[in-house]
């Protein structure tokens, strides 16, 4: 079974959370109306709303004298896909890295669920990224030596899941992204779109709360890119995960629920 591209004619309710991965998925198009019910501010206790998976508040990041982020506020809801756009070198990838706990902000806060990420140490952030986040990169960054199923199973095995179970879950996930026939193929034997599907399966196999994608369709043609982004957004939001996609491509952004533009390290448009 494979996921379908989100429909454009349906309203956009919250995608259901914590669905079983084997349940069928019917994604809805997110663009038709604003994403309902997501608070732009934390609740009075300062802790993000339960529906809010990811929150960045007042994020500032410097690279020496260069300003990467100049005070960014952003929230992403469970089941919501957020596209981050903007000119090159204006802070898109920096924002993604800060939200994902890869970089620590010089000022501001990052919350994942009820946990403040920016104050965690490097080791704790590493564990958090492994267990609660998923990543998709432009060039898929799969390990060339491993077949598809082992590439997907690797994060689970690193986390202590037995090989048998990890491979089983990986194959199940690969089946859901339409690659049940390619489980034993290596990245070099897959097309660009197939390899990116494997990368999506790897990002989702650990049931993450949020998925970060940096130009996930940058190396693909338009048609394949559309399929891949639909799959990513559909599969992740179907599970109630928040998705943050950095992209230059309007077509990709159009397939997300919401778009923010970053210019000179600030959110210029929502």
């Amino acid at each position: 079974m494979s996921f379908q591209r989100p429909h454009t004619t349906q309203p956009s309710p919250h995608a259901p959370q914590n669905q079983s991965q084997s349940q069928p998925f019917h994604p809805q198009h997110p663009q038709a109306q604003p994403f309902p019910g997501h608070p732009q501010q934390p609740n009075p206790q300062g802790i993000p709303h339960q529906g809010t998976v990811l929150t960045g508040r007042g994020l500032v990041k410097y690279y020496g004298d260069v300003v990467g982020l100049a005070g960014v506020d952003v929230t992403v809801q469970a089941g919501e896909a957020l596209a981050v756009m903007g000119p090159s070198g204006n802070g898109k990838t920096t924002l993604l890295h800060v939200l994902a706990g890869i970089l620590t902000p010089d000022q501001g806060e990052v919350w994942l669920g009820g946990e403040r990420v920016d104050q965690l140490g490097d080791a704790a952030r590493t564990v958090l990224r492994r267990r609660r986040l998923g990543f998709v990169f432009q060039d898929n960054q799969l390990l060339a030596e491993l077949p598809a199923d082992e590439n997907v199973a690797l994060p689970l095995m690193v986390d202590g899941v037995s090989r048998r179970e990890a491979i089983g879950r990986a194959r199940n996930m690969l089946a859901q992204v339409g690659l049940s026939a390619e489980v034993s193929r290596r990245p070099g034997e897959l097309s660009g779109g197939q390899a990116q599907r494997v990368a999506i399966a790897r990002a989702l196999v650990g049931e993450p709360q949020a998925v970060f994608a940096d130009e996930p369709t940058g190396a693909l043609d338009a048609a394949t890119g559309a399929q891949v982004i639909d799959l990513l957004v559909g599969a992740a939001t179907h599970r109630g995960a928040a998705v943050v996609v950095v992209t230059h491509d309007d077509a990709v952004a159009a397939r997300c629920h919401r778009v923010v533009r970053i210019v000179d390290g600030r959110v210029s448009e929502r």
Binding site: A100, I102, A123, T126, V127, L128, R129, R130, R131, L133, G134, F135, F137, D139, Q141, L142, L143, A144, E145, L146, E150, L154, P155, M157, V158, S162, R163, R186, P187, G188, E189, R202, A203
Partner: protein
């Protein structure tokens, strides 16, 4: 200038991010190759230079009537040190004036004249005055007639009918002082060098390949960008060749400088009877030229072969995704070397033996990747955790790439295994040091014994003189060993009184050479192995940088990646290296006809040393790759 040449030179000057580390690693590895090649060539030539100066001493190519001299070598001792005494009877067959002197001597020695080396002149003592009946030596032998500045040698002029050089005693006759005959000890060492070259050739070539490969890895993306900009494949290969040639040339210069700087230390190695004259080891202009040309050319060829394995397209460098599996047919090579050695045996000529050992070493090099692939598949199939899985898949996916960095180290296992069972003995000396033994004709023993008793009595020594079948044994309890020897000097003409232990010591020089030669050989292989393994680790780290970066961002701890890289480096060394030790031992046994030639614990010490050094080298290699991987995968 060709624009690609210009661009290549510019890339060497500005290698770009990460390129400097890769270029330095490549340059360092190339420098080590150049240093070792210089050492091997200059060392071999040094041996021939030595032999040219002293070869006449044991030449036997003349006829009694036409020879310029008759030579008899006698072992002597001074202050507990072995001394070589050359009794030389000059024969001037043409009688056309003054005969040219032997090398290093001011004139051809007349009977009773004694020339000594500078070291022996320093030790000229009362005993030597008495033995040679001279207050001072007639002359000092110059460097032109010595093997080593440490050499202890006496060249004594004797009459043609003296014992030892008389025709009835079958001395050596020589037609010229500068013949083609090699000194036997130097010839043995040269044979050892030939074996050494056969054993280190493949590790050295591996190291050249590693050096070229490390620099090439950083180059690949740039090459793809150039293809995108319209450069043809031929042009980007030319650019690579220019870059590698410059790096190879710089590495060769660094290696030569390193060799020249180290040569005073190398000259202190007491191989072949003592330290070396520095000029024996100084590379000539043509050796320098060979190194400066050969090393860059080999580097360029290696780099081009490496790039030939990948397809440089405008969209990037694409490796063959389904690498050709290595065939078990390679195992056939394993039997050729041992069979050849068994057929030739220890009586075989040096060249076929060298070829036999070379084929056996080549077999290890060829079979290694196959073994790595088998082990990798097994690990990947049985892995329970990510570290073993990653390491196993890496080994199975690119066994040649995995084996290349450790090939030198694994080959050192072959050398060790070979020598552990086939190191010519003589290292353990069991001769007794209690009595002088003199050997004479059956009818002479009583006369010699009587003369010895008389001399002992006159000199005030009390001792026991017994006669055997053809020997006389003189046992005296004294602390004045050298005076006693002087008293008994020439009791048997042309024979110096020595104990069995002292005779062992005379012979020990050759075995000491072998032991040192083996140590040097292993040192060479280990240095090559260390450099190759370290360069390989850097190359692997650069290869894995992009996926390692992605894995780290995804929350996979760096330790998992590092541990799998370390495991992938250790497994070929241990899992292939240990059987290779056994294979080396098998070759040693094949050559010796099933005999364990090595005596005592030398073999065990060698094996233990090999294991320790191997483990240390793998640790060093891991240390070389880790910071590169950490840096390259950060962010």
């Amino acid at each position: 200038m060709n624009p690609m040449t210009d661009l290549g030179l510019r890339f060497v000057r500005r290698p770009g991010p990460g390129g400097r580390a890769a270029n330095l690693a490549a340059l360092g590895a190339t420098a080590i190759v150049a240093l070792l090649v210089s050492f091997l060539i200059a060392g071999s030539l040094g041996l021939t230079h030595r032999s040219d100066r002293i070869g006449w001493r044991n030449t036997d190519d003349g006829e009694p009537k036409t020879a310029v001299g008759a030579v008899n070598e006698v072992h002597d001792m001074v202050a507990g040190e072995p001394v070589n005494r050359v009794d030389l009877a000059i024969n001037n067959p043409k009688r056309d004036g003054e005969l040219p002197p032997p090398p290093g001597l001011s004139h051809a020695p007349k009977p009773g004249e004694v020339f000594v080396s500078p070291e022996l002149a320093k030790r000229w003592s009362e005993d030597l005055r008495t033995r040679y009946k001279l207050e001072q030596p007639t002359g000092i032998i110059s460097d032109a007639g010595l093997s080593s500045p440490d050499e202890l040698i006496v060249i004594r002029g004797v009459a043609k009918d003296s014992p030892g050089v008389a025709q009835s005693d079958h001395p050596r006759y020589l037609d010229t002082w500068r013949g083609n005959a090699m000194d036997s000890r130097m010839a043995m060492l040269l044979a050892l060098v030939a074996f050494g070259i056969a054993l280190v050739l493949f590790p050295l070539l591996s190291l050249v390949g590693q050096a070229a490969g490390v620099a090439a890895k950083r180059r690949e993306h740039r090459l793809a960008a150039l293809r995108l900009a319209g450069a043809t494949r031929r042009q980007v290969l030319w650019l690579s060749a220019v870059e590698q040639a410059v790096l190879g040339f710089l590495g060769a210069i660094a290696g030569l400088i390193g060799y020249v700087v180290l040569s005073p230390l190398i000259a202190r190695i007491p191989l072949g009877g003592g330290r070396w004259y520095l000029h024996d080891l100084t590379p000539s202009w043509w050796v320098t030229l060979i190194v400066l040309v050969a090393v860059p050319v080999l580097s360029v060829i290696s780099a081009l072969i490496g790039l030939g394995r990948v397809s440089i397209t405008p969209l990037g460098v694409v490796r063959g995704q389904t690498r050709k599996s290595t065939s078990a047919l390679r195992l056939v090579l394993l039997v050729i070397g041992p069979i050849m050695l068994a057929v030739l045996g220890t009586g075989g000529a040096v060249l076929p033996l060298v070829i036999g050992i070379g084929i056996a070493a080549l077999a290890v090099r060829v079979v290694g990747p196959w073994a790595v692939q088998v082990i990798g598949k097994f690990l990947a199939r049985t892995a329970k955790g990510p570290v073993v899985l990653l390491a196993g898949r890496r080994l199975a996916d690119d066994p040649k790439g995995a084996f290349r960095p450790v090939a030198a180290l694994v080959l050192s296992g072959f050398v060790t295994g070979f020598l552990a069972l086939f190191m010519p003995y003589g290292l353990t000396q069991d001769g007794k040091d209690v009595s002088f033994q003199l050997y004479t004709n059956q009818g002479q023993t009583a006369v010699v014994a009587e003369d010895a008793r008389k001399r002992l009595s006159e000199a005030g020594f009390k001792g026991e003189v017994t006669t055997g079948d053809q020997s006389v044994s003189i046992s005296v309890s004294t602390t004045e060993r050298e005076r006693l020897r002087t008293v008994l000097y020439d009791v048997v003409p042309s024979q110096v009184p020595l104990t069995d232990a002292e005779r062992d010591k005379q012979d020990a020089g050759v075995f000491m050479d072998m032991r040192l030669g083996v140590a040097l050989l292993l040192g060479l292989v280990f240095v090559t192995g260390a450099a190759s393994t370290a360069a390989g680790a850097v190359g692997t780290a650069l290869d894995q940088a992009a996926p390692a970066k992605a894995l780290r961002r995804s929350g996979v701890p760096l330790q998992v990646i590092e541990r799998s890289a370390r495991l992938a480096a250790v497994v070929p060394v241990v899992a292939v290296g240990l059987p290779v030790v056994g294979f080396g031992a098998l070759c040693g046994l094949a050559l010796s006809g099933g005999q364990v030639v090595t005596r005592g614990s030398s073999g065990v010490i060698l094996l233990l040393g090999q294991v320790v050094v191997g483990v240390v080298l793998v640790a060093v290699a891991g240390a070389a790759g880790a910071p590169v991987l950490r840096k390259a995968s950060a962010g």
